[in-house]
Symmetry: C2
Subunit: 260 residues, 2 copies
């Protein structure tokens, strides 16, 4: 199944993607729901972030080449995490595919993409094992973990480096039935491939993260887990650039960069 969240008459609505149409639902597809009978053309809709999570998890550093590259760039010692400690982002920053990424007026830059696979929680879960961890996942989407590297260096927290409004594009749709450990994630800038890696290279797997997390925290329907990215995140984005995160099964998360 492939589903999305779209704007219909100014309000958010969930829908199932069927060919070139979206069949609207009266509730999220991971909760009890019915079809409303209404259909809209996928081409004409405004895509919203597929969910609005209360708990917005991000693995952060979970790929060796990305850690090595960041260490070199920052001149800090290479330090691979010894355990799967999950981090956070904030929902204010979420936008859907097609929305603009707005670089703040006073951003010294650079602003970098980070193309990521995102797991969407569909069931309340606690104390899962690695073996049954994926039973709580409704499906997968894509995320672009935009990062303002000057703010990331100067600030005590990641608040404006990572959570400036519009800095977390997510979408375009959610798909189920794919293996999160074997996805190729590619980033294109202005149509040109800038980065491509496979999620098989993750230091800690999604089942490992979920098992560890759910020993302490309840996972709730609608929560999202962003899984980190591999490699360098170049070129730096400039106003006017079109940045796309691409996966064969999920599609293309496309956003244009502007300056406030």
């Amino acid at each position: 199944m492939k589903w999305c969240r779209i704007e219909v008459d100014g309000a958010p609505a969930f829908g199932i993607v069927e060919g070139t149409d979206v069949a609207l639902l009266d509730a999220p597809p991971y909760e009890p729901h019915r079809r409303t009978g209404k259909k809209v053309a996928l081409k004409s809709v405004k895509l919203l972030p597929p969910v609005m999570p209360y708990n917005f998890y991000a693995a952060g550093i979970n790929f060796r080449d990305h850690i090595a590259w960041a260490s070199e760039r920052l001149g800090t010692p290479l330090k691979v995490p010894a355990q799967a400690d999950i981090g956070y982002r904030s929902p204010n920053a979420l936008v859907g595919s097609g929305a603009e990424i707005v670089i703040p007026k006073d951003s010294p830059g650079p602003v970098h993409f980070e193309g990521e696979l995102v797991a969407v929680v569909g069931k309340k879960a606690r104390n899962l094992t690695e073996a049954n961890a994926l039973s709580c996942i409704a499906g997968y989407t894509l995320g672009n973990d935009l990062s303002e590297r000057s703010f990331q260096k100067s600030d005590r927290t990641l608040w404006r480096a990572k959570n400036t409004d519009t800095f977390k594009p997510m979408g375009p749709v959610v798909v189920d039935g794919i293996d999160p450990l074997k996805q190729q994630i590619t980033v294109r800038v202005n149509g040109k491939e800038a980065s491509s890696y496979n999620t098989s290279g993750a230091i800690f797997s999604l089942p490992h993260y979920i098992a560890r997390m759910s020993a302490y925290v309840t996972l709730w329907p609608g929560d999202v887990i962003w899984l980190g990215c591999d490699g360098a995140t170049l070129p730096a984005l400039e106003p006017g650039d079109l940045v796309e995160v691409v996966n064969d099964a999920i599609g293309v998360l496309a956003n244009r960069v502007v300056r406030a």
Copy 2:
């Protein structure tokens, strides 16, 4: 006005506190709402966290004596933040007054209270100034920023140190018309005063935080900003302890500690 969020027939409901009663509303008091005509006795209700925020902000370190105490305890250099960088907590950890605080089975401890004033956002806001910053605030409540200090030391992020389920009691009610810069916040453990400080000692004021935050992020109705605590956070909490965060205008946020 004094309002709360309570459980009614298994579902959450907002209500206005009137003497010993709660007059139920059909929506949050900071949104268009009507009274349902139903009243329940305040004494008999289960209090929930007054709001469920999408964006859960926490000032973290914002008082000199707390920073000095933490530096001494951790053997790290005393470092006062140079700018107001907001941090985050996660909604999974929220519980209301009266709920149990559950220390994880494998927690080496110590587990510490941190009694804090909490600002509740009532209006969508962006680009506020210090002069009009408080115009977006619906009122104030109390928070207990429970912290597992071993996890805080060992983990790369604050996820289970601060966001283990039940580690963020918030309540009991929200009040408006108080000055957030002049509140006495007291913590009692088993009825005995353990900590007491005035919010006037904050390094960065709430208006300063809001002005700085809203230059980058949109504040949304229901968002909360936890304002940090001052001084030491002793004694460490043990199973069986009753921990209370107290303020004259807001009341008592009371939670019993248990071990999982």
